[in-house]
């Protein structure tokens, strides 16, 4: 029992540190990829290829003055970024990151908590992460913040139904909510991947995932041209940085979910070992989010609602019906 607690704590700390670092690195990657797609160079001057820019940004964020506006609700204003960051990492707890491996004769399963309702837990934790923007926008006594949180509510009401319904069809096929069972169900190579059986569910899940992480086609919450910075208008320094880390951790979570549920997880592909396979898949999905941000315009809030309720939800329900009939 003690060993289990120590192991879990160590795993949690490692995941926290690594994903925070990756979130920082994600900002660098995003700036670089967006720059290349716009024929720019991106960060170049701090360190080799601008790599130390992350460090410089970190120093800037940590040393910036932490301002709480005069009429803001102090407590909620200060707690809200922690909600976003914390839920993003809590969601990662139920995700199997890598295949099992042995180190110093001790077998480690790189999942903090193997819940039997893993996928529900992940989606629920990520969804509750939207309380961060919602509360932040309302607590800061700023009209842009209010609009930002109103848009958060719209986003939340729109995509959540699609996420749940789209992932329901794969759950029906696998017959389990555990992400490890999902992984094991696709163990037979590329032809066993869920995406061949459920392409519609995959597309729907990807769209909902973009909405869930506030990525570009649906980045209504803080679209600068319309609502200054939305819910983050009054934030500065590390509180703003926590929103940022939360967003990037969420992107990594969604990328892991998509690879685990639809693209065979950490099963080895041919000669590629399992841990490398999942890193490649997650990198691809992360890149896809940056790629889409560079390519596509974003939609209006009403268009998002129209899309989710009038197009995606009927398709998802049809998909579930057809899957159910085939399974019967």
């Amino acid at each position: 029992m003690d060993a289990l607690i120590i192991e879990t704590v160590v795993k949690a700390i490692v995941v926290l540190l690594v994903i925070s670092a990756l979130a920082g690195f994600g900002t660098y990657l995003e700036r670089k990829v967006l720059a290349f797609m716009q024929r720019r160079l991106g960060p170049m001057h701090v360190g080799p290829f601008g790599l130390l820019q992350i460090l410089a940004d970190g120093i800037k964020l940590f040393t910036k003055e932490d301002i709480v506006p005069q009429h803001a609700n102090r407590l909620i204003f200060m707690v809200a970024p922690a909600i976003t960051a914390a839920t993003a990492f809590i969601a990662l707890a139920a995700i199997p990151l890598f295949p099992e491996f042995t180190i110093f004769g001790y077998t480690i399963r790189p999942i903090i908590a193997d819940l039997n309702v893993g996928i529900l837990f992940v989606l629920g934790a990520m969804a509750s992460g939207l309380y961060g923007p919602l509360l932040a926008g309302m607590a800061q006594a700023n009209k842009w913040g209010i609009i930002g949180s109103a848009r958060t509510a719209i986003l939340f009401l729109s995509y959540e139904v699609v996420t749940g319904l789209s992932i329901l069809a794969p759950i029906m096929i696998v017959g389990s909510l555990s992400l490890i069972d999902f992984n094991n169900a696709q163990a037979g190579g590329v032809s066993d991947w869920m995406v061949w059986k459920q392409p519609v569910a995959f597309v729907l899940f990807l769209i909902a995932g973009f909405a869930e992480t506030n990525r570009t086609p649906f980045d209504l919450l803080e679209h600068e041209a319309e609502v200054i910075s939305g819910y983050a208008t009054e934030y500065s320094g590390m509180r703003w940085g926590m929103f940022f880390i939360g967003e990037y951790a969420n992107m990594i979570t969604v990328a892991f979910l998509a690879s685990l549920v639809f693209f065979g997880g950490f099963n080895p592909i041919g000669f590629i070992p399992g841990f490398l396979a999942i890193i490649l898949k997650v990198s691809f999905f992360f890149f896809l989010m940056l790629w889409v941000r560079a390519s596509w315009p974003h939609v209006r809030p009403d268009q998002l609602m129209w899309l989710c309720w009038k197009v995606l939800m009927p398709i998802a329900i049809l998909n579930i019906l057809i899957t159910g009939i085939v399974l019967l």
């Binding site: 990829v33 290349f36 797609m37 716009q38 024929r39 720019r40 160079l41 170049m44 790629w291 889409v292 560079a294 390519s295 596509w296 197009v311």
Partner: protein
Amino acid sequence: MSLEKYKDRNIGNQNYKLIGHEAFPQTNGEKFERVMKRMVKGELFVGLWVTVRTMFEALFKGQMHTTKYPFEKLPISPRYRAIHEMLRLLESGHYRCIGCGLCEQICISDCIRMDTRYDENQRKEVSEYTINFGRCIFCGYCAEVCPELAIVHGPRYETSSEQRASFSLFEDMLTPIDALKHQKEYPGFGAVSPNADENIKKTPLAY
């Protein structure tokens, strides 16, 4: 990068492409039709392809547009009007300025001051020549009016300095005597255009 596109002033004659606008759908049926068309046409993937193609061209075909400015500079047009230069005669190395004072007279912002005297050969000599760059508007009249092509506008456009005096003295603008062999007959502002002969018209008095 060639200078041609900087010299091209026919800005109305470029190949603009007009983007066609479809008629906006009126009825629900037409709206549905447009949604279906857009779903099938894959325009979104065309967009993805455009950006990724741009990325590969930028990375591997040298089409990156960024100029790392302090380290590399873009060529500027020869007719760019930056800080003035005083040229020397190529044969003797003596400065070209004959002290006629036309530039001082024509200067509309009144920033050129010159003082002349006769030297021992009874030739006009420039004893003082300053341009107040706090007032100069770089209109180019001085270079245009100069009969000797002595004052021209050079390509030196990085003019931030702690003191205006860093630029404005005659000696600062004059071609250094040891750099005389690098002094080119200037094609830029103040020089006679290459097709000057064709442009000459008879004055009314000749009729």
